[in-house]
Symmetry: C2
Subunit: 323 residues, 2 copies
């Protein structure tokens, strides 16, 4: 059991990362209105959120700028149009995917940028490329995290080897990403344990990014908190790919540091997310449970959702047949 | 951490209780079609569910039979119309509320009934009345549980005293009922621990009935499993009062006993619950998070839902003003 005194107290090392624009952008191809983004920024300030992830630094060679909203690319001027020089306690993050980011060119020096944190996203088999991106970003002055995606599909021994590589880089935080929403809290506890061991060895932090395929994104996030993870991803109203993420309103309700305030989150949801929910679709549904249960990428479930199918059992048969 | 070998194995003492008609009945005043109830019964048989709760044994003196569907009253003939003599492995349960059931008269001898289990629901302050109902039902030949509601509002010392009273009755299982959906898994672990101590002392089982106000009904249920609880309530598609309950489809996906089969649950949801969702409203929403967070009865949130209000922040102000 978690230590009782800790349940009443808080760790000042906790960092809450708002990933609404980035993971939510996967739902609407990053077409957020300027008003929405500005209001989200203001809300994060009021709510005491530590980092706001604006989106991806995606390669304009690989991705057509006419087919995505601007937060797929997170150009310096677009962020500054929202934040100005961001003379606030809220830090600004972007995600850079291994193989999908021209980081040498597109990530400028931090001294010239309003961005504070580069989050390098990688699968377990491209850790050296991730390490190179981390070295590049750190050399340019940024804080960095390494977000290891699809962790439920990675072998324990591979994870340990990966963390030993990453431990020798300047990365600030090892991130557990349960992309498939496949892990139960009791399993996640072991993953966090493995990450915490490496983090202790190399002086790093551990973070958690959960998906809600089995209605466990919040539960897994607070399980990880209890196990020692400090960096916590959340999105407003769970907005995120497929079944969505850990809800910011749940997380800030749980955290006991008085710097976090849940009321502005409620206001933002009422003013913006209710409408967003009417326009786009995300969140727990049977098709996402199925891919989570089978530890599969949610892409088939997302397609099922897009096609507005409700023949869940037929879908399940398709999934099982693929296995 | 939970013992690793247990995560791969299963406990044969686990009992899954389908509470869809009973807790779901609180959403639609127990007006389920005969076809729905029959199909649910057949599904529970196929899915390997252990108990099916048909509804309440409510007093016809206190409640107007014209204002509720028949599962508010669970008359013998109504159950038999669905189950016949129920010559199956699926046991039949009904709930009897302290103060709302004419149990001396309405609960007949088990030898004359198709019902197997009487679940006595009580608040912490009416334990002697619950004990009397348990004695009555046990003397008539039934299995019994005692479901202690609103556990998040009960003092630990009161719970211990209550379990000492109940321990001396023939009750089979002490049930933790998180009516307000207020508990986090790390808190629930302590409640289960307290219940397990008394259960060990008196030779009883422990059960869990969770609500989804903070998207934790499933997480709390599997937390309780890991802590030793054996009797697990779930409902199809989370159907239940307010934010609903632990979803049967999540629970059976989690449990590893091969006797449980999740596919029939998917079929039932596709064929019946999708339509049910269109006709009635339940499930996680911000108003339920708010009452859960404030450890309040969900009645105000249910009223908010009925009135189709979306002024969440105004509602939050009302709740906080009440405190």
């Amino acid at each position: 059991m978690k230590e009782l005194s800790k349940l009443m107290d808080y760790r000042s090392d906790i960092r809450v990362v708002d990933a609404t624009l980035r993971d939510g952008g996967l739902v609407n191809d990053f077409y957020f209105s300027d008003e929405f983004v500005k209001a989200l920024y203001e809300t994060n300030l009021k709510a005491g959120v530590d980092y706001m992830e604006f989106g991806y630094k995606a390669s304009t060679e690989l991705f057509d700028e006419d087919k995505f909203g601007k937060w797929k690319f997170c150009k310096e001027d677009d962020i500054r149009a929202v934040t100005g020089d961001n003379d606030t306690d809220l830090k600004i993050a972007v995600m850079a995917d291994v193989g999908r980011c021209d980081y040498n060119h597109d990530i400028i020096n931090r001294s010239d940028s309003v961005i504070d944190l580069i989050r390098v996203a990688t699968y377990i088999n491209t850790i050296p490329a991730a390490a190179d991106m981390i070295e590049d970003a750190a050399a340019k002055g940024y804080e960095t995290t390494c977000n290891i995606m699809a962790i439920s599909n990675a072998q324990e021994s591979d994870v340990k080897a990966a963390l030993d590589i990453l431990g020798k880089t300047p990365v600030n935080c090892f991130y557990i990403v349960d992309s498939y929403g496949a892990l139960y809290p009791e399993q996640l506890a072991r993953v966090v344990d493995c990450f915490m061991d490496a983090a202790a060895k190399y002086g790093k932090k551990v973070g958690i990014h959960a998906h809600n395929n089995q209605q466990l994104a919040f539960a897994n996030t607070i399980e990880a908190v209890g196990d020692g993870a400090d960096w916590l991803d959340a999105t407003y109203a769970n907005m995120g790919r497929g079944a969505g993420n850990c809800a910011m309103e749940l997380l800030l309700g749980f955290l006991k540091n008085p710097k976090y305030r849940v009321y502005p989150v409620f206001q933002f949801i009422e003013n913006y997310m209710v409408k967003m929910k009417e326009e786009t679709t995300w969140g727990y549904d049977l098709q996402y449970l199925m891919t989570g249960l089978l530890n599969q990428h949610p892409r088939t479930a997302i397609q099922f959702t897009k096609e507005k199918r409700t023949d869940y059992t037929e879908f399940y048969k398709e999934l099982v047949a693929q296995d």
